[in-house]
């Protein structure tokens, strides 16, 4: 068989040059349009006065939708006390630069804010960190209740470079050994931030999944690259959640979704009394400084355990002598808002506005109205908000269903995500 013979036989491949130049160019341009364009200026719009603005209503609507779905699940019983092990992927895949500046830096940054947010939302809970690297799992911190100590460990410079493979099985095994001994009323959770697309395990990963299931550990995975079957399978088996991030912002959303407590499982549904202590704070005068805590640091201002009278530096924590959970009442109150969320606001419309006007007219003016061009102002921040349905609407206008007050989008988010009280309702006493 020779090349000459083959070529003569049939003109199978035709001429290479007969592809239209224009067609090639068109294809090239189509590709660039779709994948290489990051023309942020395309988002700019101009209103009738020539002011430039970025239309954010679509984005804001999407965010509200998430809030809404969170509010709907309020009726479901939730785990207040969570024990969460956060495992960060530091394999070779974390070096990829499709998230900026690279996957690892992006993940670590978001994990730090995740930890702060987690403790803010769940003051009674504890969290520990581990990293997966070179096929192993290294435990960075034990489960504890203080955010800052944890955050300090998640530093890219201290952690070293990502390398090697990932082993999900090792991570699962670690979570079982760490979480198994915890009291049954707590929610045991494992959250894996997964950059790799394959897991290289010492044995069968599904055996470890079974162990997790037996120990009531809920495994959730946040992926950054693509859907991996085994992750889907693990999360489905353990009733966790699985999400794959599209970009940095989406990754943040997915991570933050884990700050709200998951619904309680049947195993934890039965009521149980948990013994807790509410310690007293001693004075902060320098003269009253005493040795505090396990490390016996000399501190002024500490908390005294009501059972064994030992001193601890901060709340919430577990007493290092008698093991009693020590908290303060604001912590408990803050955990409660998951159970009694503020009802979600509605997007304002003409009908709602007129209905609200009738209700509000009867009430005495609370303060001097702020003069605005639209005549509408946000009850929270007193800034101007646009009329419902007006052209060139910059932000959404929202109205509380109970007190009928108007709020801007930022205040809506603040009320629902952080404040957990509606100022209009509190103020009006309704």
């Amino acid at each position: 068989m020779s090349a000459v013979e083959r070529k003569d036989e049939f003109e199978l491949d035709g001429d290479d040059d007969d592809i239209d130049e224009n067609e090639l160019r068109r294809q090239e341009e189509a590709y660039q349009r779709q994948y290489e364009n990051e023309q942020t200026w395309d988002q700019l719009q101009e209103d009738e006065f020539g002011n430039l603005f970025v239309d954010k209503t679509a984005e804001q609507r999407a965010r509200r939708k998430r809030l809404l779905s969170a509010a709907q699940s309020a009726r479901i019983r939730k785990g207040m006390i969570r024990y969460l092990l956060l495992v960060v992927d530091m394999s070779r895949a974390a070096k990829a630069q499709d998230l900026r500046p690279n996957r690892l830096a992006c993940i670590l940054g978001l994990c730090r804010s995740f930890i702060r947010e987690f403790f803010d939302q769940n003051p009674l809970s504890q969290l520990g960190i581990a990293v997966m690297r070179g096929g192993l799992v290294e435990k960075l911190t034990d489960l504890s209740g203080s955010p800052e100590a944890q955050v300090a460990r998640l530093d890219a410079a201290k952690l070293g470079a990502p390398a090697g493979d990932v082993s999900l099985q090792n991570a699962l095994d670690l979570s079982v050994s760490v979480l198994r001994s915890l009291p049954p009323y707590g929610h045991r959770e494992l959250l894996v931030v997964f950059a790799a697309l394959a897991t290289c395990d010492p044995g069968n990963v599904l055996d470890s999944v079974r162990a997790c299931k037996e120990n009531n550990i809920r495994v959730s995975v946040v992926g950054v690259a693509a859907e991996v079957y085994v992750c889907r399978r693990i999360t489905e088996d353990t009733r966790g959640s699985y999400g794959v991030a599209l970009n940095e912002a989406h990754l943040e959303q997915l991570l933050m979704a884990h700050t709200t407590p998951p619904p309680a499982t049947a195993a934890q549904a039965k009521a149980e009394l948990v013994r807790m202590g509410f310690p007293q704070r001693s004075t902060e005068e320098a003269s009253s400084a005493v040795f505090v805590g396990l490390e016996a640091r000399l501190l002024s201002g500490s908390y005294t355990c009501p059972r064994c009278k030992s001193r601890v530096p901060e709340l919430p924590c577990e007493c290092h002598i008698c093991g009693l959970t020590l908290i303060s009442s604001p912590h408990l109150a803050r955990s409660y808002h998951h159970l009694f969320p503020v009802p979600s606001f509605h997007e304002d419309s003409k009908e709602r506005a007129s209905e609200a006007a009738a209700v509000l007219r009867g009430q005495p003016a609370m303060r001097d109205e702020v003069p605005t061009s639209t005549g509408l102002y946000c009850f929270g921040c007193l800034r101007e908000v646009s009329q419902p349905g007006a052209a060139g609407q910059l932000h959404l206008t929202l109205r509380c269903g109970q007190c009928k007050q108007v709020f801007c989008f930022e205040c809506d988010a603040y009320v629902h995500e952080q404040l957990h009280n509606c100022p209009g309702c509190e103020f009006g006493g309704t």
Binding site: R6, A198, A226, Y229, V230, V244
Partner: protein, 780 residues
Amino acid sequence: MKFNLEGLTVYFPYEYIYPEQYRYMLELKRALDARGHCLLEMPTGTGKTITLLSLITSYQLAHKEVGKLIYCTRTVPEMEKVLAELAELIDYRAKYLGRGPGSNEILALGLSSRKNLCIHPRVAEEGSRESVDAGCRRLTASWVRERAAERGARGGEGGAEEGGSGGSVADIELCDFFEGHERAGVEALLPPGVYTLSDLRDFGRKRGWCPYFLARHMMAFANVVVYNYQYMIDPKVSQMVSRELEKECVVVFDEAHNIDNVCIEALSVNLRKQTLEAAGRNLGKLSNSIRRAREADAARLQGEYNRLVAGLVAQGALRGGEDWLANPALPEDVVQETVPGNIRRAEHFMGFLNRFLAFLREKMASPVVTSQTPQVFLQELQERVQVDAKTLKFCYDRLSSLLKTLEITNTDEFTPIQLVADFATLVGTYAKGFAIIMEPYDERLPQVPDPVLQLSCLDASLAMKPVFSKFQSVVITSGTLSPIDLYPRILNFNPVAIQSFQMTLTRDCLCPVVVTRGADQMPMSTKFEMRGDPGVMRNYGRLLVELSAVVPDGIVAFFVSYRYMDQIISKWHDMGILQEIMQHKLIFIETQDVVETTLALDNFRRACDSGRGAVFLSVARGKVAEGIDFDRHYGRAVVMFGVPYQYTLSRILRARLEYLRETFQIKENDYLAFDAVRQAAQCVGRVIRSKADYGMMIFADKRYQRHDKRDKLPQWITRHLKEAHMNLSTDMMVHVAREFLRAMAQPYDRGAVGKSLLSEAALAALDATGGLDGAIASGA
């Protein structure tokens, strides 16, 4: 649901129907109304089978004059799947029509070879199909049973209970199940219902009836018969099995994209050196038994001779209950003549076969490649050994008559001589559409002598012709039939409907891309001048490395041939590319050994299940490309390295191309490109098996960029081939893959599926307005 389709009430077992299924039904119904054949393409994963079954059984119900539904599948598992879907449909229908007599209940059964149906404890254990067949005959042949009956009658006074048991009489063993079925005679009936092969076996065990013969017997009463392609196309089998079917039957060929190759194989015979030697030994044995028979029972041979003189063979006087040798030529080509005088006597026939065999041996000894038409071959035969075409034509019938007369039951031993007779009859019968090709050695290994004498059928329409002419409606359907207009030409028929349907999808879950160059901008192709180039091989390797880093779980890669795969894998090994891939995924390779490949596939699936990820390297036109699905996470990406042209130096292909050009005016290039692209489509289609599935399809060859290739792909692929994806380099492809896989990993909104589904109410509205396309267009 139950809905009205242009006046026909259709029972469909699901609550919703896809718009393409509705359109498919409509097209099919019009074809049935017109009593014509049709050719329909609809992608896999759209529920083709249930659509077909649902419409045709509903049609049978409304039009009593329509005969059976004959559903032809390629494999036994497919057959079981069809029957399972049918069972579901019938259960659903029973809700409307009720059960019990008079409620139009359906009898549906699968038919397969004895190997799959036998329940005789010893015979069923036999390994191959031939040995099970022979084992069965040894117990059920008419003369064996007669002899047993005689023996039983003689000893009848002594032991009546022995004859009554119906089992083995004295030293002659019979099959209890066959005897049971025979005793029941016409009373042996299956109650209505759907019977898979295992259902048939269970039923047979319970009643003590032979399931194989029961199924053959019940074919006459069944409404739906599901069996293998061979039973319809291969003249040897179809004459036995499908002869009795009425003209009004609807014949369906599912997964029929390779139907032309099946047709050709059915009429082709390959003879190797070993075959001829074994045939020579067979002849010796036959001569011996003739001599013995003459000594012991000359009357029998004389009787046969007398029958042949009287020309009774043609009238089927010789056919008993065990018609196990049928003529390989097609029914209407068998001239209704008597066997010529020169082979009527058994001894003469032996001499004739000996001469023919000697001629074949001599031909095979030739050191050069020869290719002849049947006429030339016959002429040579006439000159050298004075054997004429007319005599050859009867070779097969004469042999089968002889084997029966000699009461030979171990037919599996006589396969070689049957092959030779097969060859002789085909050569004698057809002057056109065949080629006789003799190759003294394998093209790839010229130093090893391995002579093959091939009688190759060149015309796929020959085997299909009787099917098209006998049956009123023939439906040819598959997921990949594009370019669809070529099929009527190579199969030589006039369909009343040709249609290609698309898949309605709620998201873009197909992502076909054409990669034309590597990251270094050098073109990639398996073109002959380029395929050996180390640069091209490296670029192909890099493509797979990059891909295995961004695609999760399973990847399938197809190469154009085993030879090229071996070559490139060893090169990749030298370049260190395999090791790089292994960092991300395990590698499995298809080999020509079926057991090895099955093992590799098993482990491939395990690797995907456990999250390790794996790459499967396979070959287009191989077993894997044809029959194995890589759905869900088993195939998140499929790569087609190169354009899978056939091996163009093959003599058979050359002869066929020439024939196609002369007879059907199909240009060589057109046919080759058509064949290559349909194989490529078949390969990449392996990854999408349902609408919820998703996968990348990577065509890694510069030539796919050209219109003549691209336009031949099925519409459901080209529709998703965006302009931006037609000319990519490896790095661009990686980018596309990343974006695609991320988008596909997002939660799949099942509610949105509702948009592409039609409910009963929507269909009623549709029927009322009568505007299908308009309504669907506005709905979508």
